[in-house]
Each structure stands twice: as structure tokens, then as C-alpha cells.
């Protein structure tokens, strides 16, 4: 008789084994307070030594917006007829930053917490979840700044703003999913964290943050597939839907260009479900190996 047989016969189970999916989800749900507390603790400790403290949560997005406005609005004159270019740009930057930062921190979420993984039991997916929640908390701060800017630029407060809630929720699901994927990749191939900034910057420029896709599509009239492809890009989808929710002038401007956006909602849903479910399963399948590094 082998030791393994002896152990199983006496009802012992393997200690480094991955729990069944259903049980794993239940464990993750049980840790939801940990995920939330971990996220807010991280965000508090981020600014604890700065003199202005938590004020940086608002100042950082504000300064970001100022830099982009200076470069793309003033120096490069990218507005090209887009009404209210500042709110257009700032909405794009803030909303895309949510995805961008989720990917960046998600990729490091396992590697940076190896000592935690090697000390305590918890579903490892808690970590990418926590980092995306942290980014969501930052986004909320950014949104307050954004609302102030948008209202200050004379945009009306309309019922359309409520559409922001489902868009952000779908984007949240998408971000969690993509962050789970890069978390697994980053856990076993650290090089990915060096490569990601370049990929993310490319993604940024392809997502219509500083220009309007509705505006430039005329330039690609002989390549309609390219416009279709750019439209399918999740980075663009969430940003564009947020703009349509917030900016009345931009909404009218795009309508005048005869550029429907109804299908973007389907894309948003598609990407959110695909990434969330796919990313979760992908991360889960390596659950027992994350401690090895």
C-alpha cells in the first residue's frame, strides 16, 4: 500500500489542490469584505506620507487632464470641430485610465503579493479583484472631478447621465476579466510587466481618446472594415458610451454625422461577459500554482 492510498482511504484530501469551481466562487464571495478592505487600505496607504494626503486622489486626475489638454488641445489642436473638446478629452482619458490601470496593476497583483500568497489561504482571484476595486475607487474620485469640469463647461445635467451606471458596471466586469488574464500571465512570466506599457499606449491611441472615431471615419471610407474593427475595440466602446451619456453637444454632433451607436451597447455587453467569464476560468485553472512564483 502506498502512502497516497493510505491517505485517501482514511479520508484525507490533498492540501495544495484546487477546489471545485462552485466552491471556489463561494470562497471568493466569502472573502468579499477582505477584497474591499484590501483595496481601500491600499488606496489609503498610497497617499499616507504625502502632505496633501487624500487630496491627491482628486488632484492626480485633475493634473492628468490638464496635461492632456495642454498637449492635444492647445499644442496639437486635435479638436478639429469636436464641440467642447475639453470634456470630450477628459472623459476619454479618465474612463480609459480605469481599464489601463486595471491591466497594469492586475499584471503585478500576484507577483507583488507572493509573501501574502505564501502565508495565508484565500482564493487567489481576490488579488486581481481587489486591485480593480481599488481602481474603481479611484475612478469614482475622477468622476467627481469630471462632473465638475463637464458642468463648468456648460453641459446640461440630463437623465442621460444615468446611463453612466450601466456603462461603468460593464466596464468593471471587463476590467476584472482582463486583469485576471494578465494576473495569470504576469505571475509566471514577469516580462509581461515590461511589455504592457507599450501595448497599453498603442491601445490608448487606437481607442479614439484624443480624436473622435465618428469624425475620422470619413478618411477611411475605402476601408470600412478598419472602422468596424476600431469600433469593436472595447477600449473605444466604453469610452464612447460614457461620452454619449455625459456630453449632450457631442451626442448631437455624432448624430449629425449619421453615426449610430446603438450597437456599441451590444459590444459592451459582449466584451464584459466574454472577458469576465473567460478571465475568471483562465485564472482559476492555475489556482494551486500561484505560490510557486
Amino acid at each position: 500500500m502506498s502512502l497516497a492510498e493510505f491517505a485517501t482511504r482514511r479520508g484525507l484530501s490533498q492540501s495544495a489542490a484546487r477546489p471545485p469551481l462552485r466552491q471556489y466562487i463561494a470562497q471568493l464571495w466569502q472573502r468579499r469584505h477582505f477584497v474591499w478592505t484590501f483595496a481601500s487600505s491600499k488606496s489609503i496607504s498610497l497617499y499616507t506620507t504625502a502632505r496633501l494626503g487624500q487630496l491627491w486622489q482628486v488632484l492626480t486626475p485633475l493634473l492628468n487632464a490638464a496635461v492632456y489638454y495642454l498637449i492635444f488641445g492647445v499644442l496639437l489642436q486635435m479638436s478639429r470641430g469636436i464641440p467642447d473638446y475639453i470634456p470630450f478629452l477628459v472623459t476619454g482619458v479618465f474612463v480609459f485610465t480605469f481599464t489601463q490601470r486595471s491591466v497594469n496593476t492586475g499584471a503585478k497583483s500576484v507577483g507583488d503579493n507572493l509573501s501574502l500568497i505564501r502565508a495565508l489561504h484565500f482564493p487567489r482571484a481576490s488579488l486581481p479583484f481587489a486591485y480593480v476595486i481599488l481602481e474603481l475607487q479611484q475612478l469614482m474620485m475622477s468622476l467627481i472631478v469630471l462632473f465638475a469640469i463637464v458642468l463648468a463647461m456648460g453641459e446640461p445635467l440630463t437623465a442621460h447621465w444615468l446611463l453612466l451606471v450601466p456603462v461603468i458596471l460593464l466596464q468593471l466586469a471587463f476590467n476584472i476579466g482582463i486583469s485576471l488574464v494578465v494576473a495569470r500571465l504576469g505571475a509566471f512570466a514577469r516580462d509581461i510587466t515590461q511589455l504592457l506599457p507599450f501595448m497599453l499606449r498603442t491601445w490608448f491611441y487606437a481607442s479614439g481618446i484624443i480624436y473622435s472615431l465618428a469624425h475620422v471615419q470619413n478618411r477611411f471610407q475605402d476601408q470600412p472594415w478598419l472602422v468596424k474593427l476600431l469600433e469593436f475595440n472595447p477600449g473605444y466602446v466604453y469610452v464612447e458610451l460614457c461620452r454619449h451619456a455625459l456630453l449632450a453637444k457631442y451626442r448631437n454632433y455624432v448624430e449629425d454625422l449619421h453615426h449610430p451607436i446603438g450597437h456599441l451597447w451590444w459590444y459592451a455587453l459582449f466584451w464584459a461577459v466574454l472577458m469576465f467569464v473567460g478571465g475568471f476560468l483562465y485564472f482559476y485553472r492555475a489556482e494551486e500554482r500561484y505560490g510557486r512564483g
Binding site: A4, N113, R118
Partner: protein
């Protein structure tokens, strides 16, 4: 896979290379031919210039900056309910690694660890954040160990009292604590949870003499609740006092497994040379 045979009169436990199982007792941890390999990044033996990195890529040497450390090399043993097992060995012999592998925190390269219930490490350091107040760290540490929000609230005052920290310090960031205060709070948080199989790594019982006594009593209390206890320590007296069995690990291999007196005597003899 390690073959075992049942205990008979003629085979004394520690003399046999084979694992002998006692069918009358209830096993709680079975370690079967366990190998653990660590992967360490950034250990790079050669010069870390871009040119050498490129050369390595050209030569298709996989994962350039990675080194592997074979920390545990085929360890097998069976621990029964009620056992208190001391693990001894010199620095870097693989004691802590063995503990983490039993806890299921380090995946085995080969072999397996079977347990009844979830073994857990007494230690919460990694979950705490220096920049946060003691108060927030207590909540964070409890949640990280898997306590629910209600349990955390219920245990909060108990933890503060046990740590013996003055109320004004609880509101300060942990980075302002002295090392003794930090250790006391960490121990208090870690001890707030009950465990099926308790794994205690050394250096937990730090602090002043009074706190050492307190924490020793607390470990004793946790030990009574747990099904089995593993204790890693350099202090052989502590091991001899609290354990009914000692495993001696050296360079990732189990040198001896038996009653405390015999193993500690052999260990002292080997290290005094």
C-alpha cells in the same frame, strides 16, 4: 510514492527507512514523497547587461534570470491527531518551506501532502500594511485570515487587549511602532483564529518577557483546539517542552523522525562537531 507497511513489533520506527504507519491512530497529515522547488527571479549569476541578456535569448536559454532551488527533496511522514511535531534543522535546511508546503501554500513539484481539514500558518505579517493604523490592520488581518466581518468585530477588542497596546497607539500607523509593539500586535491578530492543523513558525513569540509568557500560553491554548501542531524553532528547549515528536530536516532531506529526546540528542551531537 512511498510504500508503507503496518507497524509490527520487529520494526522500530526511527531505524527503518520505510514509513511505518500506526493503524490504531487517526492520521491528520500525510506527507508523501514531497519535493518542493522554488523559482527565484532576478537571481542572475552573470552580469545583468542588455548584451548578455540578448546573447541568452539568441542561445535560447529559457527564463534567463530564473534560478531554481530544490528546497525539499523527497520527505515522507505521517502525523496523527493530537501530535505536536517539532521541526528542527540548521538555517536554510528547509524547515519553513516544509511548513508552507504542508499548509498547501507552496505547491509540490512532486509528491503530495494529504490533510484532514485546512492546515494554516500562524502568521499574518504579509497581509498587514505599515502605513495603516493598528486599528485598520486588525480588521485587514482578520479578514485576510478568513474571518467574517462579524467575527472580526467580535474579536477586535480581544485582540487589542491581548496585544497590550495603549489606545493612542492603535490609532497610529504601524510604521511608528517599535519592533516589539509590532510583533505583539501581529501575534495577537494571528492568534485570533482557530485552526484545524496549526503551523507555527519561529520568531513569533517575540516581545518582552511578560508578552512571551502570554504568547506561550496562547499557543498552548491554540494547540489544544487544533488537531495537530507543527512547531519550527531554533530553541530546542521549547521543542522538547511542547512536542511529543521531532523531525530533523537537513538540506531538504529528513534525517530523523522520532521522540524528542533521541532526535534532539542526535541533532546536538551533529551540530556541535
Amino acid at each position: 510514492m512511498v510504500d508503507v507497511k503496518e507497524k509490527t513489533e520487529s520494526v522500530p520506527a526511527e531505524a527503518s527507512p520505510q514509513i511505518v504507519i500506526d493503524p490504531t491512530r487517526e492520521p491528520i497529515v500525510v506527507v508523501d514523497g514531497l519535493h518542493v522547488v522554488y523559482r527565484i527571479y532576478g537571481a542572475g549569476g552573470d552580469k545583468g547587461t542588455a548584451a548578455t541578456a540578448l546573447l541568452r535569448m539568441v542561445r535560447r536559454r529559457n527564463r534567463p534570470q530564473m534560478k531554481t532551488v530544490h528546497a525539499i527533496k523527497g520527505v515522507s511522514f505521517v502525523v496523527y491527531r493530537g501530535d505536536a511535531v517539532g521541526i528542527i534543522g540548521s538555517n536554510g535546511s528547509g524547515k519553513s518551506t516544509l511548513l508552507r508546503a504542508i499548509a498547501g501554500l507552496l505547491p509540490p513539484e512532486r509528491g503530495a501532502v494529504y490533510t484532514d481539514g485546512q492546515p494554516s500558518l500562524l502568521g499574518v505579517n504579509a497581509a498587514l500594511m505599515r502605513d495603516l493604523t493598528g486599528e485598520r490592520n486588525i480588521v485587514l488581518g482578520c479578514l485576510a485570515q478568513g474571518l467574517s466581518l462579524e467575527e472580526t468585530k467580535a474579536k477586535y477588542q480581544e485582540i487589542v487587549d491581548f496585544s497590550g497596546l495603549k489606545p493612542e497607539f492603535i490609532q497610529l500607523p504601524m510604521r511608528t511602532y517599535s519592533s516589539g509593539m509590532g510583533a505583539r500586535l501581529r501575534f495577537a491578530i494571528a492568534a485570533a483564529k482557530t485552526h484545524d492543523v496549526l503551523l507555527v513558525d519561529e520568531a513569533l513569540a517575540t516581545g518582552d518577557a511578560r508578552f512571551k509568557r502570554k504568547s506561550k500560553a496562547k499557543i498552548e491554548e491554540l494547540r489544544k483546539d487544533a488537531g495537530a501542531v507543527f512547531l519550527v524553532a531554533h530553541n530546542l528547549e521549547v521543542i522538547e517542552e511542547t512536542c511529543n515528536r521531532v523531525i530533523w530536516v537537513e538540506e531538504g532531506v529528513m534525517r530523523m523522525d522520532g521522540d524528542p529526546k533521541t532526535v534532539i540528542a542526535a541533532y546536538t551531537e551533529a551540530t556541535d562537531k
